[in-house]
């Protein structure tokens, strides 16, 4: 019915329910994200943005409220169905890359497709294509420990794209990178947004990064304190000016 990818209404998240130390992490969060939007969620540590990310990414369920992901009510799904949602609808990009050790870049990108049951031939072809898209075609057979931080994150982005998910959910994707490499990574997100029309949710504590996106949702102490559209600007001008491979190992 709605054309929202993310539709959150009155989401609460509490821990230790009914105990004296009951903790309310999210307090009546409501927002919607449209198809093809590039949204940043900002907030300081402890504001509840990680919890919110877990709920958006179907890793966790809200205590109260409804969350429709592409029209599906996440709160009503079983563990197995949540696995399916994570597999097909969400592409995670983490601050610490989280590549599977002892699996080369290609195998890492293939992994979500393997869980989705894509045939060996098909997923290898798709993984190669994706690695090419993020500029990693030369290092497909490298192990994660043979890659620099920026390279790892590019592999992680390719992996997030594997099953062509509805949302790319990036949690501080540049947090472990130096600023130049960080910009290169951000460029890839911009490219995915513009060229592939991906819906991207970027979680960050950095207002500068948030400013590169189309819209910033600020949360503080479990509540949304502002939700504003960002002025249109040329994304990451610095990185485009000097696009080299001069990356630093993270």
């Amino acid at each position: 019915m709605s054309n929202f990818i993310i539709d959150m209404r009155d989401i609460y998240k509490r821990y230790f329910i009914g105990q004296p130390n009951e903790l309310q992490i999210l307090n009546r969060i409501s927002f919607q994200v449209k198809q093809g939007e590039f949204v940043a969620i900002v907030g300081p540590s402890g504001s509840g943005k990680s919890t919110l990310m877990n709920i958006i990414g179907a890793l966790d369920k809200p205590t109260e409220g409804t969350y429709l992901l592409n029209g599906t009510d996440i709160g009503k799904l079983s563990d197995k169905e949540l696995s399916n949602i994570r597999n097909k609808e969400i592409g995670f990009v983490f601050q610490t890359f989280n590549l599977i050790p002892r699996s080369n870049a290609l195998k890492n990108v293939e992994l979500p497709m393997m869980y989705a049951g894509v045939s060996k031939h098909e997923r290898t072809a798709r993984a190669k294509e994706l690695l090419k898209l993020v500029g990693m075609e030369d290092r497909m057979t490298h192990q994660p420990n043979e890659l620099s931080g920026g390279q790892k994150q590019r592999v992680a982005i390719a992996r997030a794209m594997a099953n062509n998910p509805s949302i790319i959910l990036a949690d501080e994707p540049t947090g472990a990178l130096d600023s130049k490499t960080g910009h290169l990574v951000m460029d890839i997100f911009h490219k995915l947004h513009k060229e592939e029309g991906k819906t991207i949710v970027l979680i960050t504590h950095s207002p500068e990064l948030a400013a590169e996106t189309e819209r910033t949702i600020s949360i503080y102490d479990g509540s949304i304190i502002s939700d504003t559209a960002n002025p249109s600007l040329n994304a990451a001008p610095t990185a485009e000016a000097e696009q080299t491979d001069g990356e630093v190992n993270a």
């Binding site: 877990n54 990414g57 890793l59 966790d60 563990d79 197995k80 696995s83 399916n84 994570r86 597999n87 097909k88 995670f92 983490f94 989280n98 590549l99 599977i100 050790p101 002892r102 699996s103 992994l111 979500p112 393997m114 869980y115 989705a116 992996r159 099953n163």
Partner: protein, 442 residues
């Protein structure tokens, strides 16, 4: 995630921790190799004994007919059943022919209708003792005797009731002290019954070294009593035994056939023949039964020791479980990532169970190889020991090392089961992890 990929992933994770994996496998290796060593020794012992039995010409069957007498209350006495007396229903040549027709190439008939012993005086006036046995034409091949000179007792000798005799090479030395040619000579034998009979020597058989040792122990050659083989018809005539048949027949079998099965065949055949005469019982005595008892004892001992050895597998299995728990904890973060990427519980469970199975299977295979090697080693030592001892080397002419295929198959299955059993708990623990906690784990 497909099965094959799970195996590949398991192999790579085992390879990543080579030393640890090897130590984990050690329990399984020791357990399986112990079981395989013991079962190999057990089956080798069986094969060796089987070999020894057949070398001794011991695949023989004695068939007896026994008559049950009927009890009469009025006279308080037993008497033979007049309708089916043993005298009238002896084992006939027709029956033996039928047996040979039904089981061709299986049985050699031979009878040693005994008239007991006899003695003769040689030219030195020394007494030479002999066992006198009435035989069919099959006795010589039955005992694995070779004819050294002349010929065997034939069917024709029997049909014509000739007083022909086949003597041993030992007898020739004892009797013909001057080295005369024995064939064609006539000997006069004083029987135990007191009467005498004359026989013409038609052949000399080789009283083999093996048989000598087996039958006579340390007896000196001059004192040995060997068999004087005569046609059974002649033996019947001498001992005034009915010519209608036999109450006792010996058989031997083709050594390539399964003696236990032949024993059953023989029993079935004669029981069928005497079904009509309930008062006549067929009794079969066979070395197969002695052999079967020996084998049963070996098998029981093998099984009991194997079970004791298998307990070490249990210890090995606990080791596998322990290391799998460590592995699950170490890879908590990886499990979290996999779950975030859409792995279902069963994907995670399968991955860890397969890893446990692969560890156990590799351990199992190494164990099997070591076990077989151990068996060969013990077999080799046994050969050396036996070769150095003359008494044994006669009996056990060959030591066979036979790895037990059943034990190998069971070991492979058992290692797989150990992997499943001890891998399931850690795998379940991994599968049930909360992805958020797992992702946060450092």
């Amino acid at each position: 995630m497909s099965f094959l990929e799970s195996i590949k992933s398991a192999l790579s994770s085992i390879a990543a921790n080579k030393m640890r994996s090897l130590l984990t496998m050690l329990g399984i290796i020791i357990g399986i190799s112990a079981v395989i060593t013991i079962t190999t020794l057990g089956s080798s012992l069986t094969a060796t004994i089987q070999n020894a039995f057949s070398t001794l010409g011991a695949n023989y069957f004695d068939v007896y007919l026994n008559e049950e007498w009927i009890y009469d209350e009025s006279t308080n006495s037993y008497y033979p059943d007049p309708n089916s007396s043993l005298e009238d229903h002896l084992i006939t040549m027709d029956m033996l022919d039928e047996l040979n027709e039904r089981y061709p190439d299986c049985f050699y008939n031979c009878s040693t209708n005994g008239i007991g012993g006899g003695s003769l005086l040689n030219t030195e006036k020394d007494t030479v003792n002999v066992h006198i046995a009435g035989v069919f034409d099959g006795f010589v091949p039955y005992e694995d005797f070779d004819i050294l000179a002349g010929r065997n007792i034939t069917l024709r000798d029997n049909a014509e009731c000739k007083y022909s005799a086949l003597v041993s090479n030992i007898f020739v030395k004892q009797y013909f002290t001057r080295g005369e040619e024995p064939i064609g000579q006539t000997i006069s034998v004083t029987l135990d019954s007191g009467s005498a009979a004359e026989f013409t020597i038609v052949g000399v058989y080789d009283y083999s070294e093996l048989y000598k040792r087996y039958a006579m122990g340390d007896q000196r050659e001059e004192d040995m009593t060997t068999h004087l083989l005569i046609p059974y018809t002649a033996a019947n005539e001498i001992s005034h035994v009915s010519e209608r048949g036999f109450s006792y027949v010996e058989f031997t079998c083709n050594s390539k056939k399964d003696a236990s099965a032949l024993n059953e065949d023989l029993r079935a055949f004669f029981e069928e023949q005497y079904e009509k005469y309930p008062s006549i019982n067929v009794e079969i005595y066979s070395s197969v039964e002695d052999f079967d008892i020996a084998i049963t004892v070996i098998n029981i001992v093998t099984i009991v020791i194997s079970i004791i050895a298998a307990i070490s597998l249990l210890v090995g299995g606990v080791g596998v479980m322990n290391i799998m728990l460590v592995s699950v904890t170490e890879r908590t973060r990886e499990i979290g990532i996999r779950k975030a990427l859409g792995a279902k519980r069963r994907n995670i469970r399968l991955q860890f169970v397969i890893e446990a199975i692969v560890i156990c299977l590799i351990g199992g295979i190494i164990g099997i190889l070591i076990g077989i090697l151990n068996g060969e080693l013990v077999g080799f030592i046994a050969k050396q020991v036996i070769a150095s001892n003359e008494d044994y080397s006669m009996l056990f002419s060959a030591v066979k090392v036979v790895p037990s295929l059943t034990a190998i198959i069971i070991s492979v299955l058992f290692s797989t089961l150990t992997g499943i059993f001890f891998g399931l708990y850690p795998a379940n623990k991994a599968a049930k992890m909360n992805p958020i906690d797992a992702l946060r784990y450092d």
